[in-house]
Amino acid sequence: MHYLQQILFAVISVVAVWLFAKKAGEIRRNILLGKKEQLNDQPGKRWSNLLLLAFGQKKMFKNPLVAVMHFLIYAGFIIINLEVLEIVLDGILGTHRLFAPVLGNLYNWLINAFEFLALGVIFVCVVFLSRRNLLHLKRFLSKDLNGWPRSDANYILFTEIILMSLFLTMNAADQVLQARGSEHYLQTGSFAVSSLISPLFAGLSDGNLTAIERSCWWLHIVGIFTFLNYLPYSKHLHILLAFPNAYFARLEPNGKMKNMPEVQQEVLYAMQPETVPADAVPPAHFGAKDIFELSWKSLLDAYSCTECGRCTASCPANLTGKQLSPRRIMMATRDRMEDIGRNINQHKSFVADNKTLLHDYISVEELRACTTCNACVEACPVSISPLDIITELRRSLIMEESNAPQEWNSTFSNIENNFAPWKFSPDERDKWAAETA
């Protein structure tokens, strides 16, 4: 019986980790479908971004109350996972509280700390669930989240509550058994939070208590494995990806648009035809029509998005009722990547599906509404730039499809012919100066 449990545990762990690794590999593959971009200069600055923005969650502190609560969930998540190490080892070795004898008093102190964190996490999850579902916050009501994304957010909060409750219930049953001197249950000293639940179990037999303790233990760890495998399909992937995303965040001023050296070269050739080499090949793409032409960083961005909607809440276009929502830009990019990933899984390599990110997932109307104001970039807590995707798609729209509103076409021809976006004669450019004389 004992060995059976150990074997079962080992099998479950291996399957869970294998499944996770497989999906993680697919996500990595999908991200690398994007264009190469070197983003590892200035490691010092990058590490400090990782510490400040990802670990320190600096942008979250624009709203300190929410930031502290979010920080608690996140710290709880990380720290309580230390305890998972013990659970896994116990599971494989068939031991119970393996670390207790080794750590002595420290063990009691640690579990107490975990219990307080667990309680804190439960509290914050309840607050966040209410905030999401009862308070009418525009960014949570938005149609961006209709369907799966809205449930996703709630599922994870419920799951956290359940996992933490299992942890506390397990400890409570354990303590009653300890008090009765039950053979298998080592003395660990009392735990502050779960000892409050223990009295409820006083009337139960040893057998029942052991059953409760064991069930909680199993459900807890199976829950954690499930959570692990749920992550890659959820907005909660940001728990992992926020870190690389902060590290690879762009370090240049937000106002600088990415140069297109291939167009720069074309223009040079046009200006100095004598420099064109005989074997010059014109560029294959201008801007991005699909994820393959976006930088891999934009694709990492899409997988890192928490769907929090802070970007959209600060977007001037969205605030004034336009179709554009930077959050939706990120979600649409991720959807497209997932669809392409499935396509690749099916056919070994991508088989054209007559769809592109531009048009089929993101509309021209959305792209046209952007003022390139960078509010979305500034607002994002996990270093995402929806603007990069928008401008790359706009480039394709204009340069590959010549798809511009009539007013823009006039603007372009004015700039080209009169050197100003309006139809003024270039001779009048310094007329104002004559008037000051």
């Binding site: 624009k62 001023p253 937000n254 106002g255 600088k256 648009m257 140069n259 297109m260 167009v263 720069q264 074309e266 223009v267 040079l268 046009a270 200006m271 801007g287 001037p316 276009a317 605030l319 004034t320 009722g321 336009k322 179709q323 109307e365 046209r368 509404a369 003022t371 390139t372 104001c373 960078n374 509010a375 970039v377 500034e378 401008t391 706009r394 480039r395 394709s396 204009i398 340069m399 511009a404 509103p405 007013e407 006039s410 603007t411 372009f412 700039i415 080209e416 050197f419 100003a420 976006p421 309006w422 270039p426 009048e428 450019r429 310094d430 104002w432 100066a433 008037e435 000051t436 004389a437």
Partner: protein, 259 residues
């Protein structure tokens, strides 16, 4: 006041301390021309040796690039860099945050390396150095002014304080809008929106921003960008407040109050 062009300066065997990049709005738009004139007057008064490119200046290409037309942007950049490098320009000041951003951040990669400064930063320096002296009890003393952050100055380049410092020198009462500094709301002109109708929606962006500015109860809205200025001026007119609230560039406010 005589405004010299680079060509004239060169012909006279002189070279300026700084090039004043006027920009398309500052050159052609009637409202923005007043900002240009005010800033030129300040440069003149503090005795700056400056020049403009005159007819040799051309659009930096910012709206074309942001609309997606990289070809046109690269053409304009090539042309401008040829002219600037031809004159050996080292230092540029501009009253337009879009020109500022393009010249400062986007031209270096294309071979145009200059020290570029926005006029609000230069004004702050001149005030700090005592080269600009403001009248005691100037026309803004005690008046409520609300400063509207330009996206291309603020979030794009991290300049939030210089314009505010300059305004403080006017002895005015600075009142902030609900969204300011890094949270500032766009006026709606950037990304080539200035040159086309808004996409369908329920409000114009400039009206939204003007409403925020009006809520502060300020009698002056200070701008640091000719496009923001146009957008906010239109907004104020739309709300029929043009008799109570004026939209002015920071350079105009300083020019009106110099000793």
């Amino acid at each position: 006041m005589k405004v010299n062009t680079m060509a004239e300066m060169m012909a006279a065997g002189e070279s300026p301390d700084i090039l004043f990049w006027v920009g398309c709005a500052g050159s052609f738009d009637q409202r923005a021309q007043k900002i240009t004139k005010a800033f030129a007057a300040i440069l003149d008064k503090v005795g700056f040796k400056y020049a403009i490119l005159g007819k040799e200046e051309a659009c930096t290409g910012d709206p074309a690039r942001r609309a997606g037309n990289e070809f046109l942007f690269q053409m304009m950049a090539y042309q401008n860099i040829q002219v600037l490098n031809g004159y050996g320009i080292k230092k540029i000041v501009t009253t337009c945050p879009h020109c500022f951003n393009t010249l400062k951040n986007e031209y270096p990669e294309l071979g145009g390396n200059y020290e570029v400064i926005h006029h609000t930063s230069l004004l702050q320096q001149l005030i700090d150095e005592g080269r600009i002296k403001l009248k005691e009890g100037g026309s803004f003393k005690g008046k409520k002014i609300s400063y509207h952050d330009s996206c291309y100055l603020g979030r794009a380049n991290g300049i939030y304080e210089a314009p505010r410092k300059v305004l403080e020198a006017l002895d005015a009462e600075l009142v902030e809008m609900k969204r300011c500094r890094s949270n500032g709301l766009c006026c709606g002109a950037g990304g080539a929106q200035m040159f086309k109708e808004d996409e369908p929606g329920d409000k114009r962006i400039n009206i939204e921003r003007t409403d925020e500015a009006l809520e502060t109860g300020a009698s002056f809205i200070a701008s640091a960008c000719p496009f923001c200025n146009t957008m906010m001026t239109d907004g104020v007119k739309n709300r029929e407040k043009e008799n109570e609230v004026a939209v002015l560039d920071i350079a105009e406010m300083i020019a009106a109050n110099m000793e």
